[in-house]
Point group: C2
Chain length 420, copies 2
């Protein structure tokens, strides 16, 4: 094992931080009295890229794109500029280029303690699509909501099933959400009731951010798909199960999902994830030609979900799983999304679908963990949960384990407030 | 019958034009050598609002919002400014205020023949939602695709069913679309095939444009909903029926719809539609409280669909229906959309769902008109159509009949090119 390259920012080198030199995820932050701007996380610090840009230390191609309130302008510049900027930042933060390290005035200006910053939604999201790509999740849901003996629908093994989600209500980690109201059909009642959701759930997902637009009528192949991806985030697809069950036939989930979707503030680039590509899962039957792929498109990302009741001293981990188990890859999702001619845009968010593994402690939703509420999970403080209660916080985290370092996503968290 | 108020622009006064003084719909247009800007249609002319604004003839509150490439900045100003601008334009175009009529230089600058202008997508659409609000359409579809004896699903009479559509592929009238490719499951085949769509269809719809944002977690009531609507357009929800049938369970239509949605270029304001409000359709059972409405939210809009094969001398009308027959109103749609806490944004497009009447010639899709292809329609040139063929143009039109004038929507048209 060779020691990983280190940064002159000590907190980046402890082997535990999610933000070592090898990561350099992009986000949008603000500190008191300043407008939001683009930054990169390193250890417990944020590097203010607008400040580095002003000092002339970033690629000319990216000039002026870091002072805005979203990453979109930078992302739109395309992969060569992403890669060039990453190289420059690696040089500056390793000290190979001493221009930042040895300039005290610039350091004061450009380094912000993460604890002093507010993190904002990093991307303006023109479209949000949510897939359904875990075979275990689709099977678990099918077993509970449809036919236990034919849990997986016939189209599932042929199509990376997905649907259009609601982009307006995608929020950044830390945003509180009110328990949604809606129509619920109770057993033995002829008509639905209007009620606060009684089966509020999370879904552990990841999402990728589209980095390159495609034109209407021009599909993106699985081979070209990786070049259309800028990076990834953690995603919590909050779900109102009782509203969902009543509304979803025949046009899919709507109010059960549209009240809020949370993403992590740091976008981890595909460049940073490159060392963690793995062999694709075996697919049987072999997909139709347009879904076949030559690249390794799976990623080894360890994931956890924790639940913390209001006032509890610590969160309780209730799920541990890994992104590499997903049946359909992101390249297949994008190829399928565009094969009809549908265009994608810079900043589009594509959710993976709930990430569930094969063991009962690896399921990515309360619905599956508790078998639709029948077998509540027990938390560290002794309390039980069938579904989420008011005051509960859900905290998701994930990282790739390198040799002596972790490329991590930080967390996506959210707290549930009572229904209005 | 009193004679309607007229304009000094003669073509606005013939009683047949869709764009009399009573309409004044907003759009975005360009002429050679100029950037797109906001205009208003009157007779066979477009009034360049950027030019009128430069001349100081429009409300100060709207200053500077007409030179952009979309209506969003103007719409975001809110209803009092929409109404004030409409009043100003009515005064200027009736001649009650002679500032435009009597200024030859300004007329030259501000009046553009519609025939010389290109019309653009009028609105930047952050979110597109499509409802399913015609009882006749839902019944017809349920009969063909599901159970003929229980065609209407149990939730349909309780919920204004809708789903999130794909905003990126909403295009303006006149945009050609390639026939989509995708997965089709043929009877008696074990696996799907990849193929060009064989059951390409249109859906006659209307859509409203959201004019006022709502905050996450804050529902819009049916009473407040009309104030959140800026105006309406014609909408063709192109549909690939064979792709749809295979993909839509359990998360709804995706590739079967996402390859393109066409809207008309002129947004007819709710102010212009005010005289055409009608009593709401009777709803049984009475909806839950949050869906009940006191206002008259139905609108009397006569609609037609015509089909014109490549090279045919004229279009053939294949459907005549009326928007007033819709079971769920736009106010109910918006109230339902937001009742969970989902937020809406200025420019959001909300499609009505296919508008079908009770008689076989009033169905708003080929699927219904031909009973899923079993009974083709015969066109004026003697050719038959089960579904759309390459080269076919679909032309939708609609208007409200006033006393001596029509408030019309112009057309939304689109032509199908061969699959790639």
């Amino acid at each position: 094992m060779t020691a990983p390259q280190t940064s002159w920012i000590d907190s980046a080198n402890d082997g535990q931080t999610h933000f070592p030199l090898q990561n350099l995820p992009y986000g949008v932050f603000s500190v008191k009295g300043q407008s939001p701007r683009v930054g990169v996380a390193i250890g417990d610090q944020i590097v203010d890229l607008a400040a580095l840009d002003d000092a002339g230390l970033l690629p000319a191609a990216a000039k002026g794109t870091f002072a805005g309130t979203t990453l979109n302008r930078f992302i739109a510049l395309g992969k060569p500029t992403w890669t060039e900027t990453r190289k420059r930042l690696t040089a500056l933060l390793s000290g190979e280029d001493a221009a930042l390290r040895d300039n005290a005035a610039l350091r004061d200006k450009a380094l912000v303690p993460m604890s002093a910053a507010a993190l904002h939604l990093p991307v303006d999201i023109p479209g949000y699509t949510d897939f359904y790509s875990s075979k275990e999740h689709a099977t678990n849901v099918g077993r509970m909501f449809r036919d236990p003996d034919n849990a997986l629908l016939p189209n599932w093994l042929e199509i990376p099933i997905g649907y259009n989600g609601r982009a307006s209500s995608v929020v950044v980690s830390g945003t509180t959400l009110h328990r949604p109201n809606g129509q619920i059909k109770l057993p033995n009642e002829a008509r639905p009731v209007f009620s606060a959701c009684r089966k509020l759930d999370f879904e552990l997902e990841m999402g990728f951010i589209v980095g390159k637009e495609s034109a209407l009528g021009e599909p993106v192949s699985t081979a070209d798909a990786p070049a259309h991806m800028f990076g990834m985030v953690l995603l919590n697809d909050w779900s109102a199960r009782d509203i969902q069950q009543w509304e979803y036939v025949p046009l899919g989930p709507f109010n059960s999902k549209g009240f809020g979707t949370s993403i992590s503030p740091w976008v981890v680039t595909m460049d940073a994830l490159e060392p963690f590509r793995r062999d694709n899962p075996e697919q049987s039957p072999q997909p139709l030609a347009y879904l076949q792929q030559q690249d390794r498109n799976a990623y080894d990302i360890a994931l956890e979900v924790a639940l913390q009741p209001e006032g509890a001293p610590a969160p309780s981990t209730i799920c541990r799983t890994n992104f590499k188990a997903m049946y359909w890859t992101m390249a297949q999702q994008l190829a399928h999304h565009t094969v009809s001619g549908c265009n994608v845009r810079v900043g589009d968010l594509m959710g993976s679908g709930t990430i569930s593994g094969t063991t009962p402690d690896s399921y990515g939703s309360m619905l599956e963990l508790t078998r639709n509420g029948a077998e509540p999970v027990t938390l560290a403080d002794g309390s039980e949960r069938a579904f989420l209660q008011d005051g509960d916080s859900v905290i998701m985290t994930g990282y790739c384990q390198g040799e002596g370092y972790r490329v991590g996503f930080g967390t996506v968290s959210g707290k549930i407030l009572p229904a209005r």
